[in-house]
């Protein structure tokens, strides 16, 4: 799981082009949107597409998205249990 958390952090930094942030700067328990990383709707769309491309996870339900994007840890847990790639 630790490897997946690290991988997700690196992917998020890459797809969102967070140039000044390192994986160590991201708190895996902090909210991704609003506080924490302070991501917004464009970033959310990037994450939806990233999950689809990298892990074969198609997120279609907004309620599910809200649940998954709570934090890196929650996201990693969901990816581990639902990945197709």
């Amino acid at each position: 799981m630790d490897n997946l958390v690290k991988e997700l952090k690196e992917e998020i930094i890459k797809v969102l082009n967070l140039e000044d942030i390192t994986p160590e700067d991201i708190d895996e328990t902090a909210p991704l949107f609003g506080e924490g990383l302070g991501l917004d709707s464009i970033d959310a769309l990037e994450l939806i597409v990233m999950l689809e491309k990298n892990y074969g996870i198609k997120l279609e339900d907004p309620a599910k998205g809200k649940e998954i994007f709570q934090s890196i840890n929650v996201m990693a847990d969901y990816v581990a249990n639902n990945r197709k790639k």
Binding site: D40, S41, L45, I48, V49, E52, E60, D61, P62, K66
Partner: protein, 298 residues
């Protein structure tokens, strides 16, 4: 360069009480359009008196972007607001079943993409009456999804939904819970068409700086980032008002002839700049038909 901007701009909803919106449709079925345009003159004069912000930003647009003199700019402010009133009137007239003549230049660009497999995007703008495109740019092969500001008044939304249901257009409303993102993504994944405004910041506050009328201006990053992310072809359509019941639609490709090997950021920037240039070219032809009542260059 993509950056962020606090969005406290004009909210973009239609003015006026809802009972009036509802009452006007049956009235319009039995009255000529010119009569409503005549009444509009008084409404526009009253509106301009009590709306210094829209008066100021429109005047600045004519002075600074178009380079017009003081008198011509003041006249432009009047014409712009009257045009806007006419376009809102035309929307209701359309809901009431009145017919308009719409000529289309570049329809083959839309039709070619609609025939091919895969999604594409239409970037719209707050010029003329884009809603009229919903009655003309239709496809039997692909569903069209129009992203719309979710807080527009109910009477407008209900009528828009009813009218577009006839042409098979699906409305996606921008919501605070980001559910619209899932709808946009699902539509693109299914190979459908997504139409989204490209000249107003709403939803996300991230923007791309483009050259617009010779000065840097902020365009919303969302539509261009979404297109670049999917590598989707992008077109734009402007539906400008002509005389009385005439509209002229122009369709342009924003992604034809792009150089190979562009990075994601470069692709976003190039599509956004192509849109800004196409919008500028259209506004130079129809300077009184841009209805974005906030300082676009702030």
């Amino acid at each position: 360069m993509a950056e962020t901007l606090e969005h406290k701009q004009w909210q973009g909803t239609t003015d006026g009480p809802q009972f009036l919106h509802r009452a006007i449709i049956p009235v319009m079925r039995w009255t000529p359009l010119w009569l409503h345009y005549s009444v509009l003159v008084f409404y526009v004069l009253g509106y301009l008196t009590f709306s210094p912000k829209s008066r100021r930003v429109t005047y600045q647009f004519f002075r600074q972007a178009m380079g017009w003199g003081r008198f011509k700019s003041m006249l432009g402010v009047l014409k712009n607001h009257f045009r806007f009133g006419q376009i809102i009137t035309d929307r209701f007239a359309k809901y009431a079943g009145k017919k308009f003549n719409i000529t289309v230049e570049g329809r083959e660009i839309f039709d070619n993409l609609a025939e091919k497999p895969g999604c594409f995007m239409v970037i719209s703008s707050h010029t003329g009456c884009y809603e009229m495109a919903g009655y003309s740019l239709t496809s039997t092969k692909k569903r069209i999804n129009t992203v719309s500001y979710g807080k527009e008044v109910k009477s407008i939304m209900d009528n828009r939904r009813e009218q577009f249901a006839v042409t098979g257009t699906n409305m996606i409303f921008v919501n605070d819970d980001m559910s619209h993102l899932f709808e946009i993504n699902n539509a693109l994944r299914r190979g459908e068409v997504v139409s989204i405004p490209g000249d107003r910041l709403f939803g996300s506050t991230k923007y791309i700086v483009c050259d617009f009328f010779g000065r840097p201006a902020k365009f919303p990053r969302g539509p261009f980032a979404t297109a670049a992310q999917r590598g989707a072809p992008v077109i734009t359509a402007f539906v400008m008002k002509g005389r009385y019941r005439d509209y002229h639609m122009v369709v342009r490709s924003l992604t034809d002839g792009l150089p190979d090997g562009l990075s994601r950021a470069e692709l976003e920037q190039t599509i956004a700049q192509n849109f800004a240039s196409a919008l500028e070219a259209e506004l130079r032809k129809y300077p009184t038909q841009w209805f974005n009542y906030y300082d676009f260059w702030e």
